[in-house]
């Protein structure tokens, strides 16, 4: 049972981080369907950083450098979306889809090449970080506490404060609701949208590195992140684009995702003899049902997905 709680919290934190990322992008007026690809890139940056860490690096350094690498990779990758969506008025759905495919393909190519250079016989896309990963974990009486949980909580509080209590956040949201009006009072819509997309890259990258360190100590990058970026979008919609609701929504989804990891350890669930694939499907099914009930009266930012054109009124 403790394991279930632990994994629920871990997965909820990942979903929350990524969903908050989506939330920033959409509040600025850009739909970020490329979160999945951003997660993969962030995961790759962080994982490679960990695997290259020399032995004996202090835990604090490992945490700082890994998180930094993931953030930088996520943000750099999100530039692809920002350029296309903000300056070239590209279809954000196509761009997002391309970014998801590109993320997995690029990460696979990069990791494989690095593996092959280090060892000519190694053609796998696996990165291992068994020892380094321990830096993130503190064992408290059987409960594996991860520093990522702290990072996620800080991100949650920071998101709330930034969005609702700062001038920047309120301006950002104005750009997603009515960019023309925002522009007319002197807000630079393009800058705000850049900020929104870059922040989503930051949070998406963080979510990515957390995802590949949860419950495993190596990652095969050909697999990508199994639709997690889209689950996060479902969390964001269910959370009505509000950080506090997103946190609660993430807990629900995290619970169902955690079930597939630990159901065999829970006596009454194991006794039901439900095939494991059913548990694997659960988060996706739940998200479909939840979306069906919450999308009707959408609370989405009004101008999301519409390229901003200064000439239009």
């Amino acid at each position: 049972m403790l394991l279930l709680v632990q994994y629920t919290i871990l997965f909820a934190c990942i979903l929350m981080l990524v969903a908050l990322g989506g939330c920033f992008a959409e509040h600025s007026g850009v739909i970020n369907l490329g979160l999945e690809g951003i997660m993969v890139m962030g995961a790759m940056g962080g994982a490679l950083m960990m695997s290259f860490m020399p032995d004996g690096t202090s835990a604090l350094m490992i945490i700082l450098l890994t998180v930094l690498a993931a953030i930088i990779c996520g943000m750099l990758y999100s530039v692809l979306l920002a350029v296309a969506a903000i300056h070239f008025k590209a279809d954000q759905t196509i761009i997002g889809t391309a970014m998801n495919m590109l993320g997995t393909a690029a990460a696979t190519v990069i990791v494989k090449s690095i593996n092959t250079i280090n060892d000519p016989d190694n053609h796998s896309s696996i990165v291992q970080y068994i020892d380094e990963k321990k830096a993130f974990i503190v064992n408290i009486g059987g409960f594996e506490f991860s520093w990522f949980i702290v990072i996620a909580l800080v991100a949650l509080v920071a998101s709330y404060v930034v969005l609702y209590k700062t001038r920047f956040g309120l301006r950002l949201m104005a750009c997603g609701e009515h960019p023309q009006a925002a522009d007319s009072v002197g807000i630079n819509v393009y800058k705000m949208r850049w900020a929104g997309v870059l922040i989503s890259g930051l949070l998406g990258g963080l979510g990515g590195i957390m995802y590949v360190t949860t419950g495993v100590s190596e990652w095969k990058f050909e697999y990508g992140v199994a639709g997690f970026g889209f689950l996060a979008l479902a969390v964001m919609i269910f959370g009505k684009w509000k950080p506090q609701n997103i946190a609660l929504a993430a807990l629900l989804f995290g619970f169902f995702r955690a079930l597939s990891n630990v159901y065999f350890g829970i006596d009454f669930l194991a006794a039901l003899h439900i095939p494991s694939t059913v548990y694997n499907m659960l988060p996706y099914i739940v998200s479909l049902i939840v979306l069906a009930f919450t999308s009707k009266h959408s609370a989405a930012p009004k101008a999301e997905g519409i390229p901003y054109d200064k000439g239009q009124r």
Binding site: A90, I95, T97, A98, M101, G227, L233, I285, L288
Partner: protein, 366 residues
């Protein structure tokens, strides 16, 4: 000359070519970054694919294999294209494809059906899968991209579960149709002999081309197609004109689903590949369909050529020197091409503005 440049077909061709060249160029840069000495050779291997073989018979045989996989890709991109014309982004094509694979292989191996009923079942099952997305979109306003992705994963797990009953316990792959399900193997129509006895080449290839033409006719020449396109360009206007926009959304995604389902039966009923029940990622075919649809300028006929190109470089990826590079380089190129396709609208506007300006200058001189 300028008249030619203003022609929308020429513009579509031109922009697609630019996307391809830029995509290949970025791929080349990546190869250069990995290992400069063999990069030129590797990108040529990707571009050449079966032309890399010296003997013409072997070239034909491998061209046959590329064509066998092009047929399902054409169907997948038709699936994406069809719903895109109705204003829906059918990323769920990948999942509908998976369900089609599930239905056709189950019918072929476990039920022992012959190929036509197998194909029909695949189309029906995949159509239902697509219609779920459409229903959720029409009545619950659920974004079809997100529901599509969810259904992709649900479909993958269901397929793995169901097809576990169609394989030998010691293997991860389903039985070959040659072993169990001979009746379901697609007829070759004598095409086998044309491609140096490549036994997988058959009816699927002409069928895919026929479907492309049918989709074009339905979209451009029928009232039904007109209604669908009207719903796509302005949902509210279509509704105002008395078109059933909810019904149209569901029907178009169901048809898209059927096309994707047929795609799967076109591949798996040739027996060229078996389903791996331990697979943990959705097959790339459906996603490549998105690439082919946009690269083909969203025209059913353009799709045929774009699909061949995408499949050509995908197969070409396996010809690079695998001791230095990896075959995923072609996936990377395909992804970059889709990314660039996002800029096509901008390119066309820029092209037209440049032409307008040139015209104005000329007019001023007169």
């Amino acid at each position: 000359m300028k008249k030619i440049l203003r022609n929308s077909v020429v513009q579509a061709l031109l922009t697609s070519l630019i996307c391809i060249l830029l995509g290949m160029f970025v791929g080349y840069l990546v190869l250069l970054a990995i290992e400069p000495s063999g990069a030129g050779e590797a990108i040529m291997a990707v571009a050449k694919n079966f032309f890399g073989y010296s003997r013409p018979q072997i070239q034909m045989k491998h061209m046959g294999t590329t064509l066998v996989k092009t047929a399902p890709l054409i169907m997948c991109s038709l699936s994406v294209l069809f719903s895109y014309k109705v204003g829906l982004f059918n990323i769920g094509a990948a999942g509908q494809y998976v369900m089609g694979a599930c239905a056709s292989l189950y019918a072929a191996i476990v039920l022992g059906w012959s190929w036509i009923p197998c194909m029909i079942l695949a189309a029906v099952v995949a159509a239902i899968w697509g219609a779920i997305s459409g229903f959720l979109k029409a009545y619950f306003n659920v974004n079809e991209v997100i529901s599509g992705i969810m259904l992709n994963w649900i479909g993958l797990y269901i397929t793995n579960m169901i097809l576990s009953g169609a394989k030998d316990p010691s293997s991860a792959y389903t039985y070959t149709l040659a072993a169990k399900g001979k009746a379901a193997i697609l007829p070759s129509l004598g095409l086998e002999a044309v491609f140096s006895n490549n036994k997988y080449v058959g009816i699927a290839i002409p069928l895919a081309i026929i479907f492309a033409i049918v989709v074009w006719v339905v979209m451009e020449k029928t009232k039904f197609g007109y209604e669908l396109r009207a719903t796509g360009s302005n949902k509210n206007a279509a509704k105002y004109c008395g078109m059933a926009e909810k019904r149209n959304i569901i029907i178009s995604l169901a048809i898209s689903g059927a096309l994707a389902g047929l795609a799967a039966s076109f591949l798996y009923l040739t027996d060229i590949e078996q389903w791996q029940v331990t697979i943990s990622s959705v097959p790339a075919m459906g996603f490549n369909g998105i690439a082919a649809a946009f690269l083909g300028g969203l025209s059913p006929i353009g799709t045929i050529f774009a699909s061949f190109f995408i499949q050509h470089i995908t197969d070409g990826g396996s010809h690079v020197d695998l001791s230095i590079y990896c075959s995923q380089i072609s996936e990377l190129i395909a992804a970059i091409i889709i990314y660039l396709c996002g800029f096509v609208g901008f390119l066309k506007i820029a092209m037209n503005t440049a032409l307008d300006k040139a015209d104005e200058k000329k007019g001023g001189k007169k």
